[in-house]
């Protein structure tokens, strides 16, 4: 009887498949900002899941790779409510995740970074383009995946100079971030040999972005606003606040192209990008999310893929090991931009080509040919090592 039982147990044991080791779990948090920025153009209005949708796709991609390496990636999504404490939310996420992808305003990002400083949690900044976060306010536990304002401005300036549109009429919005963008554009003009022939501020006097008889009024306002300007080749608009720039094309007093916040726009990604195998990620994204992929989606995708890349290269799920790899000399990631992306080791900013898009097509990709650099041509975009104010701590 006992013998029979033993034999039966033996048979059962044999029939059971060999159990694979439990996969290594890699937790990634996503911390999204409260509210959605209003856009002038209805077709550009961001979706509720702008950004996080890219992270979700990268989790799928990471898991396809992970099944060959016995790694499993999980995304924990948190979106802040208006007035909610950032540090608290970040700390709660850090309890379960070694990495947090952050789409936060600059001050919120710094609060989160400082709250997590002693825990070893790494923040990947996917949403804030402020240069100060990589300069005087840089933090050792933050990797910046989003490009900076200065990278965007330099990318645009290189193209305008290549095109011989060197005389700029600069129109600046009245909000702080518009002024920061204007600063970056002025710096770019000086660096690459363009001249700002005149500057004008467009005051935000309030008012709705959608009105029933909007066009009629705008058509009268914009030509008047742009008249009596010295000879210029292009109008460059700094309007991150989405107050006026999209009203300018086809309405300027002089027939001149518009660039900056409308017309020809520098960006990390566009739904029209189809070079370098990009059509594949565009297709995967549309299939998963039933909409097209934005720059924020791509920044979150890249951040999540960077973690996946570090995990497969180190064959580890240990956040410390992964962070060390990301900061090390062997790290690079492919992100459908025709070149490998690496980190600037002095401030942990991801080097990347910048697309110049018109809303329908990719017009060009910077750095432009002929802008040379002793380390990487990608370092012709943005604040370079000799100018940096960052001391990583």
């Amino acid at each position: 009887m006992v013998r029979w039982l033993v034999a039966a147990i033996g048979l059962v044991a044999m029939a059971m498949p060999v159990r694979a080791a439990e996969p290594v779990e890699i937790g990634i948090g996503y911390l999204g900002r409260a509210g959605v920025q209003q856009k002038l153009s209805l077709v550009e209005q961001p979706a509720e899941n702008d950004g996080v949708a890219g992270a979700r796709l990268a989790i799928e991609d990471n898991n396809t790779t992970g099944k060959f390496l016995n790694q499993r990636f999980n995304l924990e999504e948190v979106r802040l409510k208006e007035g909610e404490d950032v540090a608290k939310a970040a700390t709660a996420l850090a309890d379960r995740n070694g990495f947090i992808i952050a789409d936060l305003p600059p001050d919120g990002l710094l609060q989160a970074a400082d709250a997590l400083r002693d825990r070893g949690t790494v923040l990947l900044n996917a949403g804030a383009i402020d240069d100060r976060l990589r300069e005087q306010d840089c933090r050792a536990n933050v990797i910046h995946v989003a490009p900076t304002r200065s990278m965007l401005a330099d990318a645009l300036a290189q193209y305008l100079v290549w095109k011989q549109w060197k005389r700029w009429f600069l129109v600046v919005g009245s909000h702080d971030k518009d002024k920061l963008y204007a600063d970056a554009l002025r710096r770019a003009a000086t660096r690459f040999g363009a001249k700002i022939v005149q500057e004008k501020t467009f005051e935000d006097t309030g008012g709705a972005r959608r009105t029933d008889s909007g066009v009629t009024l705008i058509q009268r306002q914009m030509p008047v606003f742009t008249q009596q300007i010295p000879a210029h080749d292009v109008l460059v608009a700094a309007d991150e606040s989405e107050v006026f720039a999209s009203y300018l094309p086809y309405r300027t007093w002089d027939p001149r192209p518009v660039a900056g916040s409308a017309g020809l726009v520098p960006t990390s990604w566009d739904a029209a990008q189809d070079q370098w195998g990009a059509i594949q990620i565009q297709n995967r994204f549309v299939k998963l999310n039933s909409r097209r992929m934005t720059a924020l989606d791509m920044q979150a995708w890249t951040a999540t893929r960077m973690i996946g890349e570090a995990a497969s290269r180190t064959n580890s799920g240990d956040a410390k090991k992964l962070f060390a790899f990301l900061k090390g000399p062997d790290f690079s990631v492919a992100a459908f931009k025709g070149t490998r992306l690496t980190l600037r080791n002095w401030n942990q900013q991801l080097r990347q080509p910048i697309l110049l898009v018109d809303g329908r097509m990719v017009v060009s990709v910077s750095p432009q040919e002929g802008f040379l650099h002793q380390v990487s041509e990608l370092d012709t975009l943005g604040v370079d090592r000799p100018e940096t104010k960052c001391k990583l701590q």
Partner: protein, 323 residues
């Protein structure tokens, strides 16, 4: 006078003997939606065949009667009759086919479908899809081991070479390589598998038995930034002694000592060089230059570029009729 006559007679005799080496090369033009046919005797395009949208991977059938070309945006593989020089059939390839490989008998074809992370298996006689293998993200490079037992597929975002047993169609090993692996090629003796990484900028040498990377070919061209060196197509001579590696926007083909894995020479070709094919006598190597819309002809023994032939818009793949 007598002597001059003899000399010109010899020249005439030489010229008459030359056409013995004439082959037909087929070049897929990614943007032009055409295939250019090149006569390797006159080195001219003798015909331009209209095909489907976005033709890339292109290969002769084993019997030399057909040319198969993956037309990615039409989600199929078209079959060109090499005699009629026109499209006569299509194969059920699965979505967005890019590169494919055939078994030695020419009966089974394996297709990389970039859009759904699978390799599709096609019975070439029945023109039917007979299986799928799930692989990594964005499958691309495809090749079969000389003994026919292992199919290699590379996945561009997963960054792996997947080893697939051709009898069971199961993955038996995965080898991590540098970023965006695009092309895989075995040595003819089966001792090494070479995988090019476009973004990583290297070629990994893999031991096909132990499934480990044993070495890497690295490239460095004075005056050129390293990001511009993007290895894609690989060609290996039959004696396994010399390999040619197309370096994409570096506009060069590297000549590699296949034993020491060191680059011995860089040949300047056209812009964004993609893929390559040897003539069956291995005298010439044809490489496609994606941006300059031409094909460079390399004299294999002399290791020199001898000719450039204008083809269609954005040439990508090339295949040459077997003898």
């Amino acid at each position: 006078m007598w002597r001059r006559c003899l000399v010109s007679g010899t020249v005439l005799w030489l010229a008459a003997a030359a056409p013995a080496s004439a082959f037909m090369a087929y070049v897929s033009n990614e943007k032009g939606n055409t295939v250019s046919v090149i006569d390797t005797d006159s080195w001219t395009v003798t015909k331009t065949i209209k095909v489907g949208q976005r033709p890339r991977g292109i290969e002769f059938s084993r019997d030399g009667k057909f040319v198969m070309v993956a037309v990615g945006d039409d989600d199929t593989i078209q079959v060109i009759d090499a005699k009629k020089q026109e499209v006569v059939d299509t194969l059920p390839s699965g979505p967005d086919p890019e590169l494919f490989a055939q078994d030695a008998a020419g009966k089974v074809m394996y297709v990389a479908n970039e859009n759904d992370n699978t390799v599709t298996v096609i019975d070439l006689e029945k023109r039917a899809r007979i299986g799928d293998v799930q692989v990594g993200v964005e499958p691309e490079g495809m090749t079969i081991s000389p003994d026919g037992k292992i199919l290699i597929n590379t996945s561009e975002t997963t960054n792996m070479a997947h080893f697939i047993d051709t009898s069971t169609r199961q993955i038996v090993a995965n080898v991590l390589v540098d970023a965006r692996p695009r092309f895989a090629e075995f040595k003819h003796d089966g001792s090494e598998l070479w995988v090019s990484s476009e973004i990583g900028g290297t070629v990994s040498i893999i031991d096909p038995v132990k499934h480990v990377v044993t070495g890497k070919v690295t490239f460095s061209i004075p005056g050129l930034r390293s990001e511009a060196i993007q290895p894609v197509g690989i060609g290996m001579t039959k004696d396994d002694k010399t390999a040619f590696v197309a370096l994409g926007p570096a506009n060069r083909v590297a000549v590699v000592d296949a034993v020491s894995h060191k680059v011995t020479k860089y040949l300047l070709v056209g812009q964004r060089v993609w893929h390559m094919a040897f003539t069956p006598d291995e005298k010439y190597l044809l490489v496609t230059n994606g941006v300059s819309n031409d094909v460079s002809v390399i004299d294999v023994a002399a290791q020199k570029v001898t000719k450039t032939i204008q083809v269609g818009e954005l040439p990508w793949g090339v295949t040459i009729a077997p003898q």
